[in-house]
Symmetry: D3
Subunit: 187 residues, 6 copies
């Protein structure tokens, strides 16, 4: 296996100081620069648009915990069989939950996990939205409200699931390779 991060041959851009600083911060906090960022780095405008959306979605204010957002990320990526996202976000579920088996369940089949009604409903919605987006109806939103989600929370469930349907497809389209470090994390 080569060291290529994607299957595409894209001319690398000269990184701005801001981007260099951002990558340095990644290395400090995560121990690595996620390859998805390096993949986007050929065009800083695209990189920033991606990180702005990602950071707001996964790290910003929300009625969903960070772990719950990562669980959605992985359950969606499992349906789409996205290697990059399953490796990177599977590691995040293991880390945030401190439960290696939970990470594996999200990767393999979220239905194998013993979840609260809230979390099960959240993942059922995310997976239906992934598999059959055209069939989401009011009853599906109502099922989330029944287990305690506010309309504001439903936005976050929906936009997280939607985001990974994008991210999975970009990663699959260009054969994006995850950083090796993820594999051993939080086992």
């Amino acid at each position: 296996m080569t060291d290529k991060i994607t299957a595409l041959d894209l001319a690398p851009a000269e990184l701005s100081d801001a981007t260099k600083a951002y990558f340095a911060k990644c290395r400090e906090k995560l121990g690595l620069v996620p390859n998805v960022l390096l993949a986007y780095a050929f065009d800083e405008k695209k990189l920033r648009a991606f990180t702005d959306m990602y950071n707001d979605l996964m790290l910003g204010e929300s009625g969903l915990s960070k772990l719950e957002r990562e669980m959605i990320a992985v359950a969606v990526s499992s349906v789409n069989h996205c290697y990059y996202c399953l490796v990177a976000h599977g590691a995040a579920v293991r880390q945030l939950s401190g439960d290696p088996a939970l990470g594996e369940m999200m990767v393999m089949n979220f239905r194998a996990a013993e979840l609260s009604d809230r979390q099960r409903a959240m993942l059922e919605f995310a997976v239906k939205l992934t598999e059959q987006p055209a069939k989401i109806v009011e009853a599906d939103r109502e099922a989330l409200r029944q287990v305690g989600f506010s309309d504001r929370d439903i936005w976050d469930v929906a936009s997280t699931a939607a985001f990974f349907n994008m991210s999975n497809r970009l990663a699959s389209a260009i054969d994006m390779r995850p950083n090796d470090e993820y594999h051993a994390m939080a086992r």
Copy 2:
């Protein structure tokens, strides 16, 4: 039908001057503020992340024409049966091409259109990425290169198709309603 833009009850935010100016510019250039922007406006940070990504993707520099990017948007939305995106981006295809029938073909079945080899390959890739993202392999990328797409172009085909797989799902999840004005445009 009520005037609700989505099925969610989200407390509207006070719009900043920058957002007000942006919406004014939309009204001036498009004759309307697309409802997707109003839907995001409950949180300006989310609104800006969305518009930054969208504008770069659909209006920025690319080896794909704006029409081609809109064709991808609609062909993907057709697979996902997304009412909002088909209405809004179907109108865009009609306008940019000056060919109402082409807009309808993208909405209904892109295979009904007489396309160049380049455009057919582009849409076949976008639709396969939508339907079976896990089955994209090097041969699929190679098929795009064979009809003249550069690796940089492949990024744009992939990221446009991926973006609408996100956008379709957010719109379906919250029952986003398109502006009425789109229906009659460029018929």
Copy 3:
């Protein structure tokens, strides 16, 4: 695009006086001879069998309104992504309902429309029959009875949905092209 009505090269038949009169009546009432009739006209026996069945089904006595039958036609054609039928019958829904948006909803995703329980049940049945005919069971028929359909009405829901599953497939098989006039009708 050529003027061909289908992808097949079929020797045209000499039209009988009866057929000429029928086509003249189409021109008078609809402003055009639907291309599907011209496509069948290579064999008058097939043409007559088709029009007899079609006219009885879509224009004959029924507990379903003509609009409801056209809504079934379009919702079924949407599942099957049939360009010909979506163009021709989408126009019919717009005309009969006087609601251009309703026509678009049937084309794109009937679930986006605010429908009565009766009409929603009718379209859910038609779409299930289209997607998974083998899984129709008594409970599906009972759901129609619950919203007020008689057994005689169920026959009409079923046979209309069934008919367009035929018509969609013939049109797709031979790349039947709709008359251009439909696109601008009743917008």
Copy 4:
């Protein structure tokens, strides 16, 4: 099991002399009146439209043999798991071919049969048209021409496959029951 022919309770019509004569002819030639005709008999107009189309399609002039048309009928009905059509037309394949195993293969999986290139291409087209009508493209028609089908023949392959996609769905929608006599025929 009751003697009901369908799950619907439809008021029987007084049969006209013409219909009585037609049924008498069925009894004479087939040894039975196919239940599908009795199901339609509540409305003679619908009955005639159905029999006109059916008889032209299955018994009329064609470049396809009657056996080939029945093979299409059964292969399509196998995809759709239509009990009525598989029983009735499976019997027809056994009778016309004199090969009970061929009838069973069409019912179960046409790919198990050792077929000529012509017949295999014919059934592959019919099955693709059944499963994925929106994905039929010129290459599919060309594949039929390559094995010797004329454009006129392609119409017949397409319209036979299309017809049984209708007939399967009507039968499934109303739980149409085949005549018992079919089961033992031509075993």
Copy 5:
């Protein structure tokens, strides 16, 4: 058609006396040696592992009758369109039930049969396990308990359905041909 039992060219093994005796017993009791046994006979270890599992499952102690186990076998094989298993086990359903139509219903569409709640639930479980194994949840097992199945019975429903998902795939993979004798049995 040749006399080959499968599409593979496997060197036949010298049969042991035990295997010869077993085949003789088959001939005596069934009137034939099922071709699946001949297909496995190239390796007696594989043959014995298969027959041990099969005989325990289909003929051993169980809360399910032999007919019920054969009904599961055929309903599963119908989903998988396995020619070998549908022929061989369809015959078994006809024989054990004395009802030729029941055998045909299992082959074609088990939903066409008038079944007890118990048997319908059993087949619904078997078919869901075949089509969407990852979506089986506690509610599916509970539905079996509701109609009277013990947990021990659920094991048998599950393992019978699972076994034929294996057997169907081996048969399809190697084009295994059923014995001709099955076709006429118990008609």
Copy 6:
């Protein structure tokens, strides 16, 4: 999470000395008794039939390496999203290959791995057999022969893929839980 190995309440059998010895050998060689064996242990006859088939298939003589057989096991289980088999056999791929990333690729999407033509063809066959068993035709077997597999090898590819289609379904049907030890193995 409880200590239950499956969702079924099955009366445990008294273990024979042979079974006790077998389990002791498992503990010695693997460091654990795989839960699948404990799940079957309520009935020693079923346990033995399972282990006889499994051991011959996965450990016996074959033109496929043990790693290749485990790769098939995991690629098939990935399609079926079987938690038990992905955990247990994913660990086996990591151990046998000494390559943790390869194990993850088989679990997530085998197409992400850089494989030899032989191994890619093997897994494509196994996955097609899993997803669409009815569509396997001679060309699929021929593709295996083209990359060097003998007919005897094809039997092993087919029967391994088929076996895990059984095993995945039994495990999913009864919610079989893998031993915790697998998660950390060979990371």
